[in-house]
Each structure stands twice: as structure tokens, then as C-alpha cells.
């Protein structure tokens, strides 16, 4: 494999990492900061994509579609928080797992009921289609560059919100001791609704942005959900920086694993089985990475808590 191709694949890995971060951003907020295990995060991602596809289909405007995705997912998130999640903060994680598992069923089948069983059409806008040429002569899709920029911007924004604003501090305080922060005069319920809606909105936005280059269909959120959890756990719960670095690591491992492992096995076996064995190991690679990181650092790369 040429050095140029390798460089391009590294770039692809980083790019897919940033995209992963975009998908995981909302979850980082809800899971990392509020300490809530929200399995329905993938569903909110799906809601965003479906809202975007619908609005894009009606208006033809991608921008409006993004706004719709954000609004629909944030709205759904706020409702979910008000009617379901709110009653679960005081319970242990397991009840949250079950409730949000139930929400997955409701969201998935509800969406199928409303939109039918077939995938929807959502494409990138005309102005962003096509490629730009990177230094080194690699043609690179313009839309993906935009995703990278957005992903990094979201990371920076979240970090700022979490570490530097009083809102962020209060939310983290609430995660440590909800009763106490309320007794100090902070309306933590309202903050939580807000944060949950924000996290959901980010999920929806990611669903729309990423949905434009993937398939918009029922169940699209599930693989994302697991990946996003992997990312956050590798980085260390509660750390935005960790989530970004975790995402990049996962992106790189996934991409390079898929590319390099088959090459590696070609040294010992015929191309067809090398491709197959290599890819088998590649699909396990990120999980091996995660297990490895956790065995080495039981609270992730940047996690503080035990």
C-alpha cells in the first residue's frame, strides 16, 4: 500500500472519528454529565433524520431540514424527560435501562407506523456535493469536511458549556447529589429537562447530518448507540475531551483495522480468506480496543471517578 493511500486512510479514520463524536456528543452530555443511561439516544438520532428527510422532501431546503431535525429531536427529548426520565433520576441505573429500552421500541415502531417500512430519501445539498482537492492531490468530499468542522465546533461548545458555565457546574453538581443542589436553591429539574432536550437535539442534528450520507431508516440508531457508548467509555465518562479523543481512536482503529488487517493476513494466506479473516478481526477491533483501554485504565482515558 502506498504512503499516500495510507495517509488518506488515516484521514478517513480521523474523519470517521469526528463523525462518531458528532453522533456521541448528545450522549456525552446526557450520559456523561447527567449520569443517565439513555438507550433511546439512538432513537432520537433517528427522529432527527426522519424529520429532516420529511422537511427536505417538502421544502427542498437542507437548512430547514436541519432546523427541523434539531427541533423535532429536542422536542421529543423534552417530552421524554418530562414524562418518563424525570421519575427515574432517584432510581438506580437499571430502571433507566428498562425505561429507555421501552422507549426504543415505541420510537422505532412508532416511526415505522408513521413513515412506513421503507428507507427515506435524504441527500446532501447541491452546494456541498462533489469534492475538493486536499494538499497531496486527494479528492475529498466537501460535505465531509463540513462534518468535521461541525463536529469540532460541537466538541468545543460542549466543553465550554460543561466546564466553564455555571449551568454546566450545576448540572454536574446535580449528578453528584441532586437533593443537595436543590436544597441550595437550584431548580435542577428544569436544568435537567433543558440539558436532556439539548442532548436530544444534538442527537437529532447528527442524525440529519449523517443521515444525508447514510441510509435513513428505522433502526438506524442502534449501531450508533453502541458505538457512541464505546466512544464515551473509552474517553472516560463525563469528559468531553475524552469523548473526542475516544471518538478519534475508535474511528482510526475501525478504519485502519478494516484496511490493514486483511493486508496483514495476505502475508500468510490467500487473498480471499485473508480478506475474510482480516475483516472478522477488524469488526472486533474497536471492542478489543475498548476492553484493552478499560483493563489498562479502569475509568477510561480521562475519567475521574471510580
Amino acid at each position: 500500500m502506498s504512503a499516500l493511500l495510507l495517509a488518506e486512510q488515516v484521514l478517513n479514520g480521523l474523519q470517521s472519528g469526528v463523525m462518531l463524536f458528532l453522533m456521541a456528543a448528545g450522549l456525552t452530555l446526557i450520559f456523561g454529565v447527567m449520569g443517565l443511561i439513555n438507550l433511546a439516544h439512538g432513537s432520537l438520532y433517528m427522529v432527527g433524520a426522519f424529520a429532516a428527510a420529511t422537511v427536505a422532501g417538502l421544502t427542498g431546503s437542507f437548512l430547514l431540514a436541519l432546523v427541523a431535525a434539531l427541533a423535532a429531536a429536542a422536542g421529543a427529548g423534552a417530552l421524554v424527560e418530562l414524562f418518563v426520565i424525570r421519575r427515574l433520576y432517584a432510581r438506580d441505573h437499571l430502571d433507566q435501562v428498562l425505561a429507555t429500552f421501552a422507549l426504543i421500541l415505541i420510537f422505532s415502531e412508532g416511526t415505522r407506523w408513521a413513515f412506513g417500512s421503507f428507507p427515506l430519501y435524504l441527500d446532501i445539498p447541491e452546494v456541498l456535493s462533489g469534492t475538493v482537492t486536499l494538499p497531496g492531490g486527494i479528492p475529498y468530499p466537501a460535505y465531509r469536511l463540513l462534518l468535521i468542522v461541525l463536529g469540532l465546533a460541537v466538541a468545543a461548545g460542549l466543553w465550554w458549556l460543561n466546564a466553564r458555565t455555571r449551568l454546566g457546574i450545576r448540572i454536574r453538581a446535580g449528578e453528584n447529589d441532586r437533593e443537595m443542589i436543590a436544597a441550595l436553591g437550584v431548580d435542577i429539574s428544569k436544568l435537567y429537562t433543558l440539558v436532556f432536550a439539548l442532548g436530544a437535539g444534538l442527537a437529532g442534528l447528527a442524525g440529519a447530518l449523517v443521515g444525508a450520507i447514510q441510509s435513513v431508516q428505522v433502526g438506524m440508531g442502534e449501531p450508533v448507540l453502541i458505538l457512541a457508548f464505546v466512544v464515551i467509555v473509552i474517553g472516560g465518562i463525563g469528559s468531553i475531551k475524552g469523548a473526542l479523543i475516544g471518538a478519534l481512536l475508535v474511528g482510526l482503529t475501525d478504519t485502519l483495522g478494516g484496511v490493514l488487517l486483511p493486508e496483514l493476513f495476505k502475508l500468510v494466506t490467500d487473498p480471499a480468506s485473508a480478506a475474510s479473516i482480516g475483516s472478522a478481526f477488524a469488526s472486533m477491533a474497536i471492542y478489543i480496543l475498548m476492553a484493552g483501554v478499560l483493563i489498562w485504565r479502569p475509568t477510561g482515558l480521562f475519567g475521574a471517578r471510580a
Binding site: A99, F101, S108, M284
Partner: protein, 326 residues
Amino acid sequence: MSRERILNAALLAALVLVPAWAVWADEPFTITLATRAVIFALAAVGLNIALGIGGLVSLGHAVFFGIGGYAMGILASHAQSYTPLTEWPFVIEGTKSMPVIWLVAVAASSLAALLIGLLALRTSGVYFIMITLAFGQMMYFFAISWPAYGGEDGLSIYVRNGFPGLNTLVPIQFYGICLAWLCAALLFSARLMRSPFGLALNAARQVPERARAVGLDPTRLQLVALVISGAITGLAGALFADLNRFVSPTMLSWQMSGEIMVFVIIGGVARLFGPVAGAGFYVLLEHLLGGVSDYWQIFLGLFLLVVVLFGRGGLIGMLAGRRRDG
């Protein structure tokens, strides 16, 4: 007698009476359904030991379930094709005998639990959830792409394995075997909860530093709990594969892990009969709702939501009160 005990007795009675009625009314499928529920309950009883008493929220129990299933699939498929599993260093033949398969399933899943536990118990809390999930996913992807035993297509066994003295093809007899195992596991976990080990494990979950300060090693206690838990779930896996006469990577998927966990939670975590109530309710609901509409999973979701929101302590907690018995 406390309300929980009455409830437990009623559940047990239902496990006997419903299939008995099905035999009388010649409804073999009801027995199949009951068998499914009983096997799921067994798997969940296994998880309940790790999760309920030990506080080990494992989202990777499908690994043990699947290993149990594959123990059955691999042994039986070799027996079916008259080829040995290995010829070196000594010949290992396949088998169609349930007791041998169970033994292998339990041994293999305990071993897996031991290895996973040794690594995973370095972490705790949410990290533990995720690392167990990671091991599950590794196994799943491995099974999907490993061609020797069917990959994603899985392995079919044409005839159910045998148990000396019984005709396992008769649904009620196979059900009897499964029920016997479930009762044994329930008895075991009832005694475990009150035993010195249960006490120590329970404390290790709540305050590991205290356990250490009195000379107990929480990690080792938890490891043992995980192994016991994995072994029981593995056994359930072997039975499940035998029920379907089929095993495939879906048994190893994270959804499967999630479902086993859901059985425990809707039934009631750390309640003796929680897994039974949970698995029974879920299987029944799935069966009844399936006919209602194509979108029946919406209703399933709503039912589950109602149980979490209004039934603290799961179904058992809802019906028998918050306080645990014993």
C-alpha cells in the same frame, strides 16, 4: 406468610398447572411457549445472581447463553455427522446426550465467565456494563464471521438431544427437564441469598471498602458470583438451543443480553422469583401482542414503561410491596 411468598407459590403453581392444562387440552404450542419462558427465566436467574446480589450489571450475559447454545450445537452437529471435534491430541467425539452437553456447556460458560470476570472486574459501574458488552460484541462478531460452524447462518440440529429414560421430543417431557433445572436454580439462589457467601457478596456490592476492612476480598467474591451466574445462564443456553434445535450468533447478540436483563428488571431485581415473573410476563406479552397489529412492539414498549414507572421493584415489587423478603 408474606405476600411475596404467596406470589412465589402462585408462580410456581402456574408453572406446573399451565402446561398440565395444555397437555389435557392438547395445546402443544402452549407448552413450547412455557418452555421458552422457563428457559429464559433460568438464564435470568443466572443473571440475577450477578446483578441482583452481586451488583454486577452485566450487559454481556448473552456470551454465556450463546456459549451454552454453541456447546450444544457443536457437540450435536459432530455427533450428527459422525465426525470427531478434534483428533489431536486425543479424539473428542460429538454427542447427543443432554447430560454430557450440559456438563460441557456449564464448564465452558464458567470458564468464559472466569476469564471475562478477571479482566472486567478491574472496572466497576458503567464501565463494567460496557466492558461486558465489549466482550459480548467480540464473541458475536467472531461467531458471525467464523465459517466452521455456520457463521451467521447458525447450526441446525435435526433431532433434539436425548436424556436417558425420557423422550425429549415430547414437549411436556422436555418441559419437565427445563422446569426441574429452573427449580434447582431457584432453590440454589434462594439459599445463596441467605448464605454467608450471599451476605458477603451483598456487602461487597454496597461497600467494598468495608468488606476489605473486615478481611474479605470483594473482587474475588464477585468473580465467584459471576462464574456461578455465567454457568447457570450457560446451562439455559444449552436448553434453549435444544428447544429450537438450532443455534446461531443471535444468541450472542447484545439484544439478547439486553433481553435477559429486561427479564430481571421487569420481574424485580434481587427478588428470588423476579426472573420468573419477568420472563413469563415478557414471553406472554410478546405472544399475545404479536397478533394485535404489525406495530405490536409499540404496545410492548408501553407496557414495559408502565411497569418501570409505577412498579418499583418490578412486577414482584408492584404486587408484593417494596421490602425484600429475607
